[in-house]
Structure formats: structure tokens, C-alpha cells
């Protein structure tokens, strides 16, 4: 593994369990699950909160497709120079993301985002029960 040489890192913000890491890492397993509800009128009741939970949406239970198994092969490296970077300028890192300076042995990350928009009324569309609509989304 090569050395990484960075002159400056300038980051404006790190949000929601994101991180800037300097140095070598053996395991990096960040995970992010988000349910983003936007509602017209911006009125959020207790009943509304209880109805919009992670288990209500089947999208959250669906597994990711299986990826390739780690493949065993003989790897030989000949490292002549370190990785050199001058300036890094980042505006934002968010939702379990990582800015990593240094080598990484294993990285295993996942992210799930479910967006929900609730409008007060439709112009010409037929009004539907939200359970039905949710099933349609899942299928």
C-alpha cells in the first residue's frame, strides 16, 4: 500500500455521521438509512409521525442484490512513488460518507433513501388510498 501525501484539506461541513479520516483503515462499513417526508402545508401531527416509520415502507426491507464473492488471487505490488495531492476543497460530506486519506483494506457501505411527497390535493388525478399507492411503489 502506498503512502498518501496531501498538502491541504478544506471541508466546509460534515453532517449525519460522515467523517474525514486520515490514516490507514482496516475496515470501513458506513451505513445510511433515510426516510425523507415532505408534506405540503408542513403540518406534522403525532398520528402522522407514527404512520411514517421505517417498518411501514417495504422498500426498507428489500435486500440488495448479491455482489461478487471476494476472489482469491496472488497480488504483487511494486510501489515506486507515494500518491501526492495538492489541495482538496470539499463543500460538504453527508449521510455516512467518508473522505479518506490513506489506504483502505476493506470497504463495505450501503445507503437506502425513501422519499415521500404528500400533496394536499390533485388537480385532475383520482384520489387514492396511500396503502395502495405504497404497494405500487414497492412492486
Amino acid at each position: 500500500m502506498r503512502d498518501s501525501v496531501v498538502k491541504t484539506v478544506n471541508c466546509q461541513s460534515t453532517d449525519n455521521s460522515s467523517s474525514i479520516r486520515i490514516g490507514d483503515t482496516k475496515w470501513l462499513t458506513p451505513q445510511s438509512v433515510a426516510l425523507a417526508v415532505q408534506r405540503e402545508g408542513a403540518y406534522y401531527s403525532r398520528e402522522f409521525q407514527e404512520r411514517h416509520t421505517f417498518q411501514y415502507y417495504h422498500f426498507m426491507d428489500q435486500p440488495f442484490p448479491k455482489q461478487l464473492q471476494p476472489f482469491q488471487c496472488k497480488v504483487s505490488r511494486q510501489e515506486k512513488q507515494p500518491i501526492k495531492v495538492g489541495n482538496i476543497n470539499v463543500i460538504g460530506i453527508t449521510a455516512s460518507s467518508t473522505l479518506h486519506v490513506g489506504s483502505l483494506e476493506h470497504g463495505d457501505a450501503f445507503s437506502k433513501i425513501k422519499h415521500v411527497r404528500q400533496l394536499l390535493e390533485a388537480d385532475d388525478e383520482e384520489e387514492v388510498d396511500d396503502h395502495e399507492t405504497d404497494d405500487q411503489v414497492i412492486d
Binding site: V101, G107, A109, R117
Partner: protein, 60 residues
């Protein structure tokens, strides 16, 4: 199976990033094994319509 890497010089002067998001990784260095997954469900597919009367405090 044998794989041989010869890493010559790598020099980058300036990197400008707007955002790193949703369990992503911006890496300066070497990595042996990376496995990243992401799924999202975003409008217009997830629009649904409800008939709600917003409740506001009575004043006056």
C-alpha cells in the same frame, strides 16, 4: 491467478468537490476490497395524494 501492479508516480494538484453523500467514499490511497450498495426511491415515482385539511391555531 497472479496480478502484478506497478504503481508509478501519481500527482494531483487540485481537487474540487461539491458533495460526498449517501455512504459514498472519496479515497486518496489504495484499497483492497470495496463493496458499495445504494438504493433510493424518489419522486415522481413516490408521489401520492392525500386530502388533508391543514389545522392552524385560531386567532382573532
Amino acid at each position: 491467478m497472479n496480478v502484478k501492479f506497478i504503481n508509478e508516480q501519481l500527482y494531483v494538484d487540485n481537487i474540487e468537490i461539491t458533495g460526498v453523500s449517501s455512504s459514498s467514499l472519496f479515497l486518496i490511497g489504495d484499497a483492497n476490497h470495496l463493496q458499495f450498495s445504494s438504493s433510493f426511491d424518489t419522486p415522481p415515482e413516490s408521489y401520492y395524494i392525500e386530502n388533508i385539511v391543514p389545522v392552524v391555531p385560531f386567532s382573532g
